[in-house]
């Protein structure tokens, strides 16, 4: 017997932006918490427990939830901190789910955030590889000027993503224009989401194509911004949802799972055996999650997808790896309008990660946006108007290696 869990509220601190010099981390989190609680009839002290997370090396503050506990309401309450890189937000949400599903707690809040203006994201990312890179220097790499980090045998973050993008394009028989097109779609979707960071109404393929190439086939316009923002969600048990009299406008957690492979693209110390372009774990985990959610054919039974794409080509890749689209068919789906908000399979109506990326929040924003779509509460014109039964939310992190998948739906899975 499984205990059913529902997301009853999703709150943001406000619009995601580049810089918030007026506030600190606790002050960034608090409005998101208040917003999530304010949308319900709950009071702060009715939250039984908190699960929180961010990528704390980005701001240089170790376990900032300790310092922030008074602001989010965690003092005198159970608090657990989860962090798994880019997938942090989704991992936090999953832990909140288990707080309720275990039967230990009934009303749990999940919070994810990042305040990117307080640190250098590139330095933070470099911190992944730094010890290994230092070690490589002992083995005489070729660091002559034109080689750069390639001399180390690694590609860095964008470098690794570019390998993946090239692989994807080759396999899907697609071109850079498809990446431009999907990037433009995300920025214009973002314009309909009042919380999104890079909002560009009517952004076109040509607008993106004007941005400089970083590492072919990836352009500046294919990458994500570094945002400041926080998200908070409230998860409750089925019994509590009934007790609160709120079973209609909630999103039921129908399936969830996570997986890890070895570090790919950057595993310069020991041979990596996982192909970063294949993302095998995404296929394995999504299959498991669909089966848990009672979904036989994800193409029919899932109406909307929120995927985590740090780089725009991934917006084409993930729907295929998640089993929503045939291998190599995403460019076609994009071209025939299927991925649009009014299309057959709306993809990231929120504008996705390439429009907004506060890392510790991003993977939870996917889940939160999925929940809002199910509840019919997405604001500012990015609500999908078709009837929605199920939405899939995806998270991604580590060195191309972690994946999280969840399916939210209008009705709970029958016990």
């Amino acid at each position: 017997m499984k205990r059913n869990v529902a997301i009853i509220s999703v709150g943001y601190n406000g619009r995601f932006v580049s810089k918030r010099p007026d506030i600190n981390i606790p002050e960034l989190i608090q409005p998101a918490v208040d917003n999530a609680i304010g949308k319900t009839k709950l009071k702060h002290d009715q939250i039984d427990a908190y699960v929180v997370g961010n990528m704390h090396t980005f701001e240089g503050i170790n376990q900032p939830h300790l310092w922030a506990s008074d602001h989010f309401g965690g003092s005198k309450k159970p608090v657990m901190r989860i962090a798994t890189g880019g997938s942090t937000g989704a991992s936090v949400y999953q832990a909140a789910y288990y707080h309720v599903a275990s039967g230990l707690y009934d009303v749990v809040m999940a919070i994810g955030w990042e305040k990117h203006d307080e640190g250098d994201a590139q330095v933070g990312l470099m911190g992944i590889l730094l010890p290994e890179a230092f070690s490589m220097f002992n083995f005489g790499p070729d660091m002559s000027e034109d080689r750069g980090i390639a001399g180390l045998g690694g590609g860095g973050s964008t470098g690794g993503a570019a390998f993946q993008a090239m692989s994807y394009l080759t396999k899907a028989h697609a071109g850079i224009e498809h990446i431009d097109r999907v990037a433009a779609m995300m920025r214009s979707n973002a314009a309909k989401n009042p919380y999104a960071h890079l909002q560009q109404p009517g952004c076109t393929e040509a607008d993106i194509a004007k941005t400089p190439i970083i590492s072919y086939p990836l352009r500046y316009g294919h990458t994500c911004p570094t945002s400041c923002g926080a998200i908070a969600m409230i998860l409750v048990s089925e019994e509590k949802a009934k007790k609160f009299g709120i079973t209609d406008r909630v999103a039921w957690v129908k399936g969830l799972g996570s997986g890890a492979s070895d570090a790919t693209t950057g595993n310069i110390i020991e041979g990596q055996i996982t192909d970063p372009a294949e993302q095998y774990m995404c296929k394995v985990v999504s299959k498991k999650v669909y089966s848990m959610a009672g979904i036989k054919d994800p193409r029919k039974d899932i109406q909307v997808a929120e995927v985590y794409s740090g780089f725009s080509h991934q917006d084409l890749m993930w729907p295929e790896r998640l089993g929503l689209v045939d291998e190599g068919k995403s460019p076609q789906m994009l071209d025939n309008g299927s991925f649009a908000i009014d299309g057959e399979l709306p993809l990231n109506p929120s504008g996705g990660v390439t429009s907004t990326n506060a890392i510790g929040a991003s993977a939870m924003v996917r889940v939160g946006e999925a929940a809002l779509q199910v509840m019919g509460l997405a604001e500012g014109g990015h609500q999908v108007q078709r009837k929605i039964e199920n939405v899939v939310a995806h998270g991604w992190g580590g060195l191309f290696q972690f994946v999280t998948v969840t399916v939210l739906g209008r009705t709970p899975v029958k016990k």
Binding site: D22, G127, M136, G140, F163, M166, I268, G271, I273
Partner: protein, 149 residues
Amino acid sequence: MTQETRIIENTWDLTAYQWKIESDALDLYVKGLKDKKILGRKCHKCGTVYVPGPTYCRKCFIDIDKVVEVAQEGVLDAFTVNIADVKGNLIEHPYITCTVKLDGTHSFLMGILEGWTDWRSVKEGMRIKVVWKDVTQGALADLSHFQLI
């Protein structure tokens, strides 16, 4: 809300750490490079060949110690073309960084790809070979680049 903010300068001091890194795989790999050989380790149970080769198998979760020399030819797996610097200015000589899979291995190696004139004609799956520096000294730099065949 006030607009006045005090910025506190602080750091996460990475130089404060003295990391220990396991280097079995790189030690073996670099030793091989001196003799213009590519060495890795093979799992005796599942047959996976790792280059550089750690002393355990990720799939079987067992110790492995079988050292193997692998081929110096293989296929181009993925690549990216560096045609501009980070500010978007085109650079004079674009270069390709790539991952390759040498024949008989299950892992990827990264490096520079040469032997092409127009990068648009480079395709995944093309055959490549290892090119050595003239003088090898047991360093990562001994493997100069991968060359399209």
